[in-house]
Symmetry: C2
Subunit: 262 residues, 2 copies
DNA sequence: CGATGTGGTTGACAACGATCAATGTCCCCT
DNA sequence: AGGGGACATTGATCGTTGTCAACCACATCG
C-alpha cells in the first residue's frame, strides 16, 4: 500500500513476468492512438523522430490495486500516462486523513512538470497499466517545441475547468444529485464504449471510494441509486456497472431534485 | 447586472469620470508591485522595455457590484488583473441557475488565453478595480518570452491545485467545517493585512453569496459562525469582518474530514 | 466443507441542515 | 421623519443523511 515510486515505477526485475517495458515504439504508439487525450495531441504535433525518441524512452508498468505511485511532497522523476485502470489523486492531510480529489482514467496524464513536487499522492484504485516517461526528457521536449508546450498549457486550462466542474458537481445539494451528476459525466466521457444499443457505464470505484469521493456514505449512495433504479432511470447490473435507461432523466436528476411522488 | 464585456470593459467614454486608464506606466507598476501574484512575477521576468510596453497598453476600470465582466461562451479580448474588490467565477446552467465556482481577489488574473472561450461568467461581487490588458498582446508577450510562458504554465499548475483544495474543502462535511476551512484559507491568503496583534479576516461576500459558494443556506451559515463565536474561536465584528481569536482552534474546527482508511 | 472475511445492501434512529416564517437593523428614497 | 427594501439573524418544523446494526452474497482458506 505504501510502496513508493522507487519500487512501483522501477522496471520489473527480470522474473517470470513478461518484460512488457520492451514493447516497440510502434506498439506503444498503437496503444495510445485509440484515445484523444493530451498525449495523442502531443505526438501528433511533434516531428516523427521526436515522437520516436520519446516513445523509445517510455516504459510500461503494471500496478496493483492500492499501490501508491507518487507520494506527496516527493519530486517525481516520471510522467505517467494511464493506459488502463483507474487511479486517484489523494490529498493527504497532516493528521493522516485522506481525501480523493480527482480521478485519473485512461488517456489521462499525471506528474508535475517543471516545478516543485507533487501536492497529492497518486494511488491505484484498481489494477492498472501505466506508461512512464522520464520527466526531464519530457520537459525538454516541451522546451524545444513551443507548439507542444502551448498544447500542454491549453490542456492545463482544461484541467482547471474540469476541476471547477467537479466543484459544481459537489455543490449539488442531495446525494442523489451528486451521484447522477457523476454518472452523467462518466457517461459523457466514455461514450465511445457502448454495448448494444444501451449505454453501460463502468464505475471504476468501490462503493466506499465512490462514497468518499462524492462526499457521502456507502449506505447513502446505495439508497441513492436504488432510488434511481426504482424510477426506471437506470439498471444496476453489478456493483460497478450501470445501464442508463433514460439519459435525459438522469441529467434532470442531477440538477433539480426528483419529485418523489408517484 | 447583465452588462456585457462590451460595455464593461470598453474604456469609459469621456464623461464626468476621472479618466483613470491614463495612469502612467510607473503608477500602474506601483499599483501591482505590492502583491506577489502572477503578474508581478511576469513583470519581473520581462525586459524593462517589454514591461513598459505592456503596462502602456493597460487600462484601468471601475466596476460596480453585480456587473458581468465576461459572459460565458464569449471570447474575451481582454485579460484582467484584479487590483481591488472581489469577483466571482459563475457557472450558469441551462435552466438559468447559477453557481459560484471560484473567487478572484486582488492579484488574481482572469481571462482565457490562447484558446477558446470562457467557460464561466466573471461577475463582480463587490465594487472593484480591474486592470485590463489586450489579450492578443498579452499572448504575444508570452510567445516571445518562453521564460514568462513557463511562469504562466506553473501558475496554471498552481491553479489546478487550488481548485482541488477547494474541492477538499467542499467535500461533504458539516457546514461549520466548511466555513472554518474557508476562513482558514482566507486567513492564510491575506496574512499581510493585520490589524493590531489580532488577525482580522475580511470576507468579501454577502451572506447569500457565501452560503451559495459553500453549499449551504444563509441561515445555516449564520448558525455556524455564531457557534464558533460561542466557542471563543472568533469574534464577529460585522457581517464581513471576523477577528480570529484562536487560529489553531479554527483549523481544528475545519478538520472533521470523512476518513478514508487505508 | 464449514469458518472467516469482505463488500454491498437494508433498517432504525438521531443529528444535521433546509425550509418557512418572523423579527430586527440598516440604508436609501421621497 | 417615515416607509420600503435588502440583509442578517433567530426560532420551529420536517426532510435528508450520518450512524449503528444486522443481514446477505461471495470469495478465500483451513
Amino acid at each position: 500500500m505504501t510502496r513508493s515510486l522507487k519500487s512501483a515505477l522501477r522496471p520489473a526485475q527480470g522474473g517470470g513476468e513478461m518484460p512488457e517495458q520492451m514493447m516497440t515504439a510502434r506498439a506503444l504508439k498503437a496503444a495510445v492512438s485509440h484515445g484523444n487525450g493530451l498525449l495523442e495531441k502531443l505526438l501528433d504535433a511533434l516531428q516523427a523522430d521526436v515522437t520516436e525518441r520519446l516513445l523509445s524512452q517510455a516504459t510500461l508498468h503494471d500496478v496493483d490495486v492500492g499501490e501508491t505511485l507518487i507520494e506527496r511532497s516527493v519530486r517525481s522523476e516520471s510522467v505517467g500516462y494511464v493506459l488502463d485502470g483507474t487511479l486517484a489523486m489523494v490529498q493527504v492531510l497532516e493528521d493522516g486523513k485522506k481525501h480523493i480529489v480527482g480521478l485519473l482514467v485512461p488517456t489521462d496524464i499525471f506528474g508535475r512538470l517543471f516545478d516543485g513536487t507533487a501536492n497529492y499522492r497518486i494511488e491505484a484504485l484498481s489494477a492498472a497499466r501505466i506508461l512512464c516517461f522520464p520527466r526531464a526528457f519530457f520537459e525538454q521536449v516541451l522546451r524545444d517545441n513551443p507548439e507542444a508546450e502551448r498544447l500542454f498549457l491549453v490542456h492545463l486550462l482544461d484541467e482547471v475547468d474540469a476541476a471547477r466542474e467537479w466543484l459544481l458537481l459537489m455543490s449539488g445539494r442531495k446525494a442523489v444529485n451528486r451521484f447522477a451528476s457523476f454518472l452523467s459525466i462518466l457517461l459523457r466521457r466514455s461514450k465511445s464504449k457502448r454495448i448494444g444499443g444501451q449505454a453501460v457505464v463502468h464505475v471504476p470505484l468501490s462503493r466506499k471510494d465512490l462514497a468518499h469521493y462524492l462526499g457521502a456514505r456507502p449506505e447513502t449512495l446505495s439508497r441513492a441509486f436504488h432510488e434511481l433504479e426504482g424510477k426506471g432511470i437506470l439498471r444496476i447490473i453489478d456493483p460497478g456497472h450501470f445501464e442508463v435507461l433514460d439519459k435525459q432523466a438522469l441529467i434532470d436528476a442531477s440538477g433539480d431534485d426528483l419529485t418523489l411522488d408517484d
